[in-house]
């Protein structure tokens, strides 16, 4: 499976994503410069975390105008996999590829820590191998991860099973205590209607190797690889 990691000015997790795809998943991967109008076809595009353009205005608000976003949009329309992690998620929201918006964290501070996530939908290629209800331990690191959307959108997300991850306790309760940033209904990640575009605040690429505190991040990518394999054989 060919991966592309988009590099915006201010992307910080681009090298981390590149590293795990190359070294852990052992898949071909290339960086894609944000100004690129076109690039070789990839099967999965990653919009990594960081502070694109310094996030001085609003997270992702400038990056969405980058030339590369046109290609991201086409990749999504074509049904190719797109995953936005942290700042990448914020950019996907700003670009309208996913519904809703981000607000500053409830406590108004940046938060970096390990959290528990409950997998609430395995209808996406990123989670199809993970049993629904499974609890993953994955770190977050953001200042604006307080997800919000209007009531109709929320109802639609729920009806279409597009809420992919929720913050929860170690036992799987989505209680207010387990919500690190005030996000609506403990939402940590959502996907588009077709399921091929995923946005999530936690960083799976940070927990895919021994010594990194958890290897639960592998689950998403192993799902994606198995989805790609079965698509090929289908």
């Amino acid at each position: 499976m060919r991966f592309g990691v988009v590099v915006f000015p201010g992307s910080n997790c681009d090298h981390d994503c590149f590293h795990v795809i190359q070294k852990v998943l052992q898949q071909p991967v290339q960086f894609i410069w944000y100004a690129a109008g076109r690039f070789p076809k990839v099967d999965c595009l990653i919009l990594p975390g960081g502070f694109s353009y310094g996030d001085y205005l609003r997270t992702g608000a400038i990056a969405r105008f980058s030339p590369v976003m046109e290609m991201v949009r086409r990749q999504a329309e074509r049904g190719g996999a797109v995953i936005g992690i942290c700042n990448g998620f914020q950019i996907l929201l700003e670009a309208g590829l996913l519904p809703g918006a981000m607000r500053r964290n409830r406590d108004l501070t940046f938060i970096c820590k390990y959290v528990h996530l409950r997998v609430d939908s395995n209808l996406t290629p990123f989670t199809r191998r993970i049993p629904q209800g499974r609890i993953l331990r994955i770190p977050i690191a953001h200042g604006e991860g307080n997800y919000y959307c209007d009531r109709q959108t929320l109802a639609r997300l729920k009806a279409e099973k597009r809420i992919v991850f929720r913050y929860c306790t170690a036992q799987g309760q989505t209680s207010p205590d387990a919500n690190p940033n005030g996000s609506l209904e403990n939402i940590a990640g959502i996907c588009n209607a077709r399921g091929n575009v995923l946005g999530m605040m936690p960083h799976p690429e940070r927990c895919m190797e021994q010594g990194m505190g958890s290897t639960d991040g592998c689950e998403l990518f192993l799902s994606l690889l198995s989805a790609a394999r079965s698509a090929l054989s289908a």
């Binding site: 502070f51 310094g54 970096c112 690191a141 010594g211």
Partner: protein
């Protein structure tokens, strides 16, 4: 052209140089007359400004340099020692670690957010100009007690500033330490250490070589911010300091991120001869230092310098400390490639001059020479007339008053359990999660040990190695005995590295003291450096650079002498890293080192009795060195299940920490039972801060091997108990002293700082 024809012309609009103006520039009449002698004429206003910043203590180390000579700087691993932007040490396999610490105390005291943020930015530039990729920051912070509004303002602002900058630029802040003491109420301390990884072949120095090579300015535009920042750092904080806000620069981490990526691309592409960041003293410092180190000259045209304000004078352009700027010397023929890379990263690149052979820094403004000075006079300590002072030192009178503390305090705290809980919940010993949770401490995915332990550990990707880093410096010890405090600062930081199993290899230091003109302050400084030098020699640790921050005074007086030491260590196999928490029921707990009756300067005395007095714990360098060797060897053999330094709060606090520190890494609480037989009082047994001690646990089959190893190194080891259960129990000769649920210890500790802010 002959030199005589290029005499700089004073602008008629420049102020007249009077003794008053010279004084305002922080120069003494003697220094001014030396400048006249060096130039063979009166300086222009611009030249006066340049000399003023370059001869400030911040840039010249004129008061501290003779003392700093005691510190060892050589060693087989040293690739770059002091005198460059940062130190570089070999870690094998063609790779190196680059590191340095720097202070940003005064700016942070006045404008906490921006002061701390620009402190982070400044030290990161020092790392990547050497050709290293910054991989971690650590901070050593000092504030007044948090019950004061001012301390809370400093504290929350500084932490937010470090977070704002470090998170945005994508360098993890993975460790450090903080202490709260009213000595820092007006003058907080913000010492930032940065660590970078590099390959030897990418080492790049701040030197101007090759006559005719182009001098290129890159990065942010030059504004009026930060003018006289270096001079400002070299005087005491006064009542009017608030008005000096304009001497504090404004941070732009996004700009620096671009600068970082562009610089590394330029260096790795082999396009540069030399590069230097523009930090303190801006363009003045970068031009004169690069020329002085390269034994060349530099000729620049200020009209080509990108400016963010109109009407800036040559004086202002030369002295501006606008952040996120660099000066580089391109290899001949590479100018186009340099411009292409800078354009890619949306950075300004301005060709502002060239390298010359006459040894002069020549500054033009629209063709007119406005300053022309020997580069050496500004930046080479060996240049005739360059200021160096041997200040008088006198033992401070206060030392006699604080030598002892009344013996009755020993028996004042009959409730030992309560004492332990109060210590664990105190500002200085409680969990610092409130701070490090605001820092991205995982980006770049090298963090092997999450914050909260004594050291941070980073893996070196593509190898089995890891690098451990710790910062330490106990102001109470240094206040009570500067010599001993200096020794302990080095030993403790190295010990915190060694408990992870890493071999300590190098030191950087940040020396925070008061006004060196005061003989008592200068005595503290000399004594502390002497102690540090002794410890560095005994532990085989070269100092590869650092920073001196003097004039840490407010109208209320000088801060406690505070030498902060950063130690870097190398772990050959990161799978053998040792963590501080107890892991397995039934493991044997051992205490390496000896406990003495040493409560002087202790946390117990300070936090619970409110007293800063007594004789700090003695530090003998032989047992310390033996201890550290045992730790590294035992870790290499995989003997240690856990190891934790016994320092602030003594054995009781160390033992409590071992029961709950694993929580951060998702581990369960793990109790323990300890029984010691000593001739000490109960209070001393639990809270004495005797040095060179480590509390470790080993699996029963490995116990005897550890005993043998300690014996072969002549190190004291006593078996003190077993891991297991839900309680921490401590007995003295079989008599129960403490019995606490591990959950209660953890609760007392974990909410920590959040309760104070």
């Amino acid at each position: 052209m002959k030199r005589g024809k290029l005499l700089p012309v004073a602008d008629p609009k420049d102020p007249e140089i009077t003794p008053k103006l010279v004084k305002e520039h922080g120069l003494t009449p003697r220094e001014y007359s030396t400048i006249n002698k060096i130039l063979g004429r009166q300086p222009t206003y611009t030249e006066l400004g340049i000399f003023s910043v370059m001869w400030s203590e911040h840039c010249s180390y004129k008061n501290s340099r003779p003392v700093l000579r005691q510190l060892p700087t050589q060693g087989p691993r040293v690739i770059q020692g002091p005198g460059e932007n940062a130190g570089v040490m070999d870690i094998g396999g063609g790779r190196a670690v680059c590191f340095k610490v720097e202070s940003h105390n005064h700016p942070s005291a006045i404008e906490p957010y921006q002061g701390a943020a620009t402190g982070v930015g400044g030290i990161l530039r020092d790392i990547f100009t050497m050709g290293a990729r910054p991989v971690a920051c650590l901070d050593s912070l000092r504030f007044g007690k948090l019950n004061h509004l001012r301390a809370r303002r400093h504290f929350t602002g500084v932490v937010a500033g470090i977070a704002g900058y470090g998170n945005c630029i994508g360098v993890p802040t993975i460790g450090g330490e903080v202490m709260f003491d009213d000595t820092y109420l007006d003058n907080c301390l913000v010492n930032v250490m940065a660590v970078g990884f590099m390959r030897h072949k990418h080492l790049t120095l701040g030197r101007a070589h090759g006559v005719g090579n182009r001098v290129i300015y890159i990065g942010a535009t030059t504004g009026r911010d930060g003018i006289h920042g270096a001079t400002f750092a070299s005087e005491e904080l006064s009542e009017e300091a608030e008005e000096r806000r304009s001497a504090v620069q404004v941070a732009d981490p996004f700009m620096e991120k671009l600068l970082l990526e562009a610089t590394l691309e330029l260096i790795r592409g082999g396009h540069l001869v030399g590069i230097q960041d523009m930090g303190a003293a801006g363009l003045s410092c970068s031009t004169s230092e690069m020329a002085a180190r390269g034994h060349t000259g530099i000729d620049i045209e200020l009209a080509h310098v990108p400016q963010r304000e109109s009407g800036m004078t040559p004086y202002e352009i030369m002295l501006s400390e606008s952040q996120e700027r660099m000066l580089l010397i391109a290899k001949p023929g590479q100018e186009k490639a340099v411009k292409r890379i800078l354009k890619k990263w949306h950075l300004h690149a301005a060709d502002i001059g060239c390298v010359t052979k006459d040894g002069l820094v020549r500054v033009r403004y629209h063709g007119q020479v406005v300053a022309e000075m020997p580069a050496g006079a500004l930046a080479d300590t060996k240049f005739p007339g360059y200021p160096t002072y041997h200040r008088p030192a006198r033992r401070p009178a206060y030392l006699d008053k604080v030598k002892t503390f009344p013996a009755e305090f020993q028996s004042r705290e009959p409730d030992l359990e309560n004492a332990l809980l109060r210590l664990l919940a105190s500002q200085n010993l409680c969990s610092k999660r409130y701070i490090w949770q605001q820092y991205d401490h995982m980006v770049r995915t090298n963090t092997l040990l999450l914050p909260g332990a004594g050291a941070a550990v980073l893996r070196v990707k593509h190898t089995k190695k890891a690098v451990a880093v710790a910062m330490d410096g106990n102001n109470r010890y240094t206040y009570l005995d500067p010599h001993l405090g200096g020794r302990i600062a080095v030993a403790e930081a190295a010990r915190n590295v060694a408990v992870t199993g890493a071999l300590p290899i190098g030191v950087t230091n940040c020396l925070n003291f008061g006004n060196p003109m005061d003989p008592e302050i200068f005595w503290q400084f000399k004594q502390a450096v002497k102690g540090m030098a002794e410890a560095c020699r005994a532990l085989n640790l070269p100092v590869t650079g650092g920073n001196v921050s003097l004039y840490n005074e407010s109208p209320a007086g000088a801060v406690d002498p505070t030498p902060i030491v950063g130690v870097v260590g190398l772990l050959e196999d990161h799978a053998l890293m040792v963590t501080p928490w107890f892991k397995t029921s039934g493991d044997v707990i051992v205490l390496l080192g000896k406990t003495h009756d040493e409560l002087g300067g202790s946390s117990w005395l300070y936090e619970l009795q409110g007293i800063k007095a007594g004789k700090p714990p003695v530090l003998n360098l032989k047992p310390e060195s033996a201890l550290q060797k045992v730790l590294v060897q035992a870790a290499g053999l995989g003997l240690l299940r856990s190891a934790q330094d016994c320092s602030d709060g003594g054995l009781a606090v160390a033992a409590a920490e071992c029961t709950f520190l694993g929580r951060t890494a998702g581990q369960v609480l793990m109790g323990a039972e300890l029984n010691l037989g000593t001739g000490l009082s109960d209070t001393s047994l639990l809270f004495s801060e005797s040095q060179s001690r480590v509390l470790a646990s080993v699996s029963p089959p490995d116990f005897l091997r550890l005993v043998d190893l300690c014996r072969s190194k002549g190190l004291d080891l006593i078996e003190v108990g077993r891991v297991g259960g839900k309680f921490l129990r401590v007995y003295h000769h079989g008599r129960p002293l403490l019995e606490q649920k591990t959950g209660d210890l953890y609760s007392a500790w974990k909410n920590g700082l959040a309760a104070y802010v």
